[in-house]
Symmetry: C2
Subunit: 428 residues, 2 copies
C-alpha cells in the first residue's frame, strides 16, 4: 500500500474521453489503497500545435521562450486530469515541474534533472490527494528558469519522482502492450517480454526501441526503480524493467533459464559521416571529436581504419542523429585546414540493427550466428560496434527490415501460435 507513480503520454490523453479513461485508471489505484502520483505529457498534438505557433512568429525562437511555450502543454493536460478525477469524487492537486521540485541544470530544451525536492507532493499525499505532475519540465537550480527535459522527458520525470518518493513501482502507460522482441510492425511474430533488465532496456532504448526513453531507464537503474511498461488501453500485464529480471517477476512461476537474447532493435534516424585522409598523428582524431563536442553533437558508433602504411593517412567514420548532420558537417569543414584531412563523406541512407541480450555474455557464437543470419538474408554489413550485451551493425537503409526479420528468426524469438493468442493475436 505504498506509492504508485504512473506516467501517461500524449496518445493516452488525446481528448476528453481519453482523459476520463485515464482518470478512472488512476482512481482505481487509489481505491485499492495506494497513494498515486501521476506524471503527464501534453495532450495528443498540443506540442506540435505550439511548435507551429512558434514557427509562425519566429524562424529561430530563443530556447528559453520555447521552453516557456511548450510547458503550457503539460499545464493544460494536468489540470484536465485533475478535474476529471475530481468529477469521480476524489481530490487531485496538479503541480508544475517547478512546484513539484524537479530541479534541473539550465540547458533549455534538453535539461538534466539534478535533484527532486518533492515537499509539496508529499504534503498533498499526506492530505489524501491524488497528485498530478507536469512531465517533461523543471526549473533550473541557479537561475530559476523554466526548463524542459527534451523528447521523452515525461518518462524521466515519472522515474525521477518514483525514486524521490521511494515508490513501489513506476508504471509507464503507452499505446502498446509492453516491450517486444522486435518492432511488431516489421516482425508480426514478435513477442512481448515479461521482464527485461535495466541494462538490456538501456541498449534497446539506445538502439531505437522508442517505447521507453533512454534517460528514464538510466535513472531507474541508478535508483533501483521498478518500471512497469504497459498499455493504457488494456488491463494486461506489460513488461517489467528491473534489476535482475528473474526474482522481480511479478507473475508466472516459470523456471526457464534467462533467455539469451532480449530482442532485436533497429534505428533509421542516424547518418554516417566519414572524414577521409586524416593524418595519422597524435591529437588529430581528438581535434575532430573536440569540434563535434563543441557543437553539442552526440556520436554513436565510431570506427577508425588502420592507416595505410604508405601514406600515414586514416579514415574516421562515425554515426550521429540525422538531425545533427548539417551542424556536424559545418563544424568539421571549419577545421579542415587545421586538421589537414582530405574530404568529408555524408550518408543518411543507413540503418542500424542491434541484437541485445544479457545472456550473450555467457554464450559464445552469438556474433557468428548474427552475421550468418544477415548473410543468408543478403544483407551487407557496413560498420560494427559491440558492448557486453549488444552487437550493432550499420546496413543499407532498405535492408533494415530484412535484417531484423532474419535475426529475429535465427535466434528463435518468433512467437508460436499459443503465445500469439496470449498477447491478443496481434503481436502488439
Amino acid at each position: 500500500m505504498g506509492i504508485v507513480v504512473q506516467k501517461y503520454g500524449g496518445s493516452s490523453l488525446a481528448d476528453a474521453d481519453a482523459i476520463k479513461r485515464v482518470a478512472r485508471r488512476i482512481v482505481d489505484i487509489k481505491k485499492a489503497g495506494h497513494d498515486v502520483v501521476v506524471a503527464v505529457s501534453a495532450m495528443g498534438d498540443t506540442t506540435d500545435d505550439l511548435l507551429d505557433l512558434a514557427n509562425g512568429v519566429s524562424p529561430l525562437p530563443p530556447a528559453r521562450e520555447m521552453d516557456m511555450l511548450l510547458t503550457a502543454g503539460e499545464r493544460i493536460s494536468m489540470a484536465l486530469v485533475a478535474m476529471a478525477i475530481s468529477d469521480l469524487g476524489y481530490t487531485a492537486r496538479s503541480f508544475t515541474g517547478s512546484q513539484a521540485g524537479v530541479i534541473t541544470d539550465s540547458v533549455h530544451g534538453k535539461a538534466k534533472i539534478i535533484d527532486v525536492t518533492p515537499g509539496r507532493i508529499t504534503q498533498a499525499i499526506g492530505e489524501g490527494h491524488i497528485v498530478i505532475v507536469a512531465g517533461f519540465q523543471g526549473v533550473s537550480a541557479d537561475t530559476k528558469e523554466i526548463t524542459t527535459l527534451g523528447r521523452g522527458g515525461t518518462d524521466t520525470t515519472a522515474v525521477a519522482l518514483a525514486a524521490a518518493l521511494e515508490a513501489d513501482v513506476c508504471e509507464i502507460y503507452t499505446d502498446v502492450d509492453g516491450v517486444f522482441t522486435a518492432d511488431p510492425r516489421i516482425v508480426p511474430s514478435a513477442r512481448k517480454l515479461d521482464r527485461v533488465s535495466y541494462e538490456e532496456m538501456l541498449e534497446l532504448a539506445a538502439c531505437g526501441a522508442k517505447i521507453l526513453h533512454l534517460r528514464s531507464v538510466e535513472y531507474g537503474r541508478r535508483y533501483g526503480v521498478p518500471i512497469h511498461v504497459r498499455s493504457s488501453f488494456s488491463q494486461l500485464e506489460g513488461t517489467w524493467v528491473v534489476n535482475d529480471p528473474k526474482p522481480s517477476a511479478p507473475s508466472q512461476g516459470d523456471t526457464m533459464e534467462q533467455p539469451i537474447i532480449a530482442g532485436v532493435a533497429h534505428d533509421r534516424s542516424e547518418a554516417k559521416i566519414t572524414v577521409v585522409g586524416v593524418p595519422d598523428k597524435v591529437g588529430e582524431a581528438a581535434r575532430i571529436f573536440e569540434a563535434l563536442a563543441d557543437a553539442q553533437i552526440n556520436l554513436d558508433m565510431i570506427v577508425q581504419n588502420v592507416s595505410a602504411a604508405a601514406t600515414s593517412l586514416t579514415d574516421i567514420s562515425f554515426t550521429l542523429p540525422r538531425t545533427d548532420g548539417q551542424t556536424a558537417m559545418t563544424a568539421l569543414a571549419r577545421i579542415q585546414a587545421e586538421v589537414g584531412y582530405d574530404k568529408l563523406l555524408y550518408d543518411d541512407k543507413i540503418g542500424k540493427v542491434s541484437l541485445i541480450g544479457a545472456g550473450m555474455r555467457s554464450h559464445p557464437g552469438i556474433t557468428s550466428k548474427f552475421f550468418g543470419a544477415l548473410a543468408s538474408a543478403g544483407v551487407n554489413i557496413g560498420m560494427i560496434s559491440t558492448s557486453e550485451i549488444r552487437i550493432s551493425v550499420i546496413v543499407d537503409e532498405n535492408a533494415v527490415d530484412d535484417a531484423v526479420r532474419a535475426t529475429h528468426t535465427a535466434f528463435e524469438l518468433d512467437a508460436d501460435e499459443v503465445e500469439a493468442v496470449v498477447y491478443g493475436g496481434t503481436g502488439r
Copy 2:
C-alpha cells in the same frame, strides 16, 4: 526615458500576424529609449477553448485546477510575443505572474493583488531586456498556489506593474480608439474622450463601459498611475485616465472648462430581485443582506420602500449580476421562514443607464434634465441610484438604446461633423 508598461488584450494577439504587429510596437518604444514591460492576455479564443476542454471532462471543475488550466493561455501568448521580439533583433524575457512577483490572496478565479515584488523584472530591465509578463494571474501569498484575477485581470496586472515599477505611463491597448461618451454601436455620434478622471472612469466601468476593468482603475487611482487607453490598430492618441484631467493632458492646449458630463454608460447584465412583504423590524433587512453576502453576491442598487403604516410590511428591491440570480434566489428562499417575508420577484428584463461626470457636482439641474430626456423618449424609470458624480436608472431592457441616445443628445455630447472626421468618421 523611464519605464513604459503596456497591456495587450486577446484581440490584439489573435494570430501570428497580430503578435508580430504587437512586437513591432513594443520594439518601437524600446528604440525610442524607454524600458518596456508588457502584460499580455491569452490569444484570441484561447481562454474559451480551454473552458471548452474543462467542460469536456467535468461539469464543475475545482477552482484551483481551473486557474492552473487557464493560466496556460498567457504562458503561450507571452512566449510567442517574446519570440517575435527576438526575431526583430531585441531580447525579451517572459515571466509568469508568479515569477513577476504578482502576489495575491488565495481566492481562486477572482484573486486580488496584495503585493507586487518585481525583483526579476527590474533585473531583466537592468540587463537590457524587454519584459513580457503573463497577465490575469498571480501566486497566493500563503499557499503559493497559482491564482487568476478574474475577467479583465490583465488590465489590473498592467496597472499594478506600472505602480510597482513607478512607470511613466500604463498603456492599455484595445480594439477601439479610447473611451467614448457612449457606446458607438448605440450612439454613432459618440465622441472619444481625450481625458477622464479616475473617478469618472470608475463610474463608467462600474456602469457597464467594458473598455477598462474596474479594479485596474481603482488600482491606478490609489497609486496615481497615468493610464492611456488606446487602439493597437492605429497610432492615434487615445483617452488618458488621470487624477486631474486638465493638467495631465498630453496634447492640445485647449482652455475649455471641464465638461459637466463625461458620458452615458449602459449595462444589460443585471437582474432585479424584489423581496415582498418584509416585516419592518430592526434586523430583518440586515438578515437578508447577510444571507446574500454569505453567498458571495455583489449587489448593485438597493431600494427599500417606506412601509405601509397599516401592515408594517415593506418591499426591498436590489439589482445584481444576472449570473448570480439563481444563487441569490436560492439563498433567500432558505431564510423565508426565519425572516417571514411574503414572496420573491425576479426580473432579468432590465437595463441600467448611467449619466457620469465630475462636473455635475457643481451644476444643479442635471437630474431634472436627465429625467426629462428619458420622459421625452417615452422611457419609464424603475429604480434610481445616485453618487456624487453619477445618476443611474433602471429601465426596461428594450428601452436602453432609446434612453442612452436621448440622454446623450440632451447633454450635447453628440459629435459635430468636424470631430467625427477627426476620430476617423466612424465614431470608434
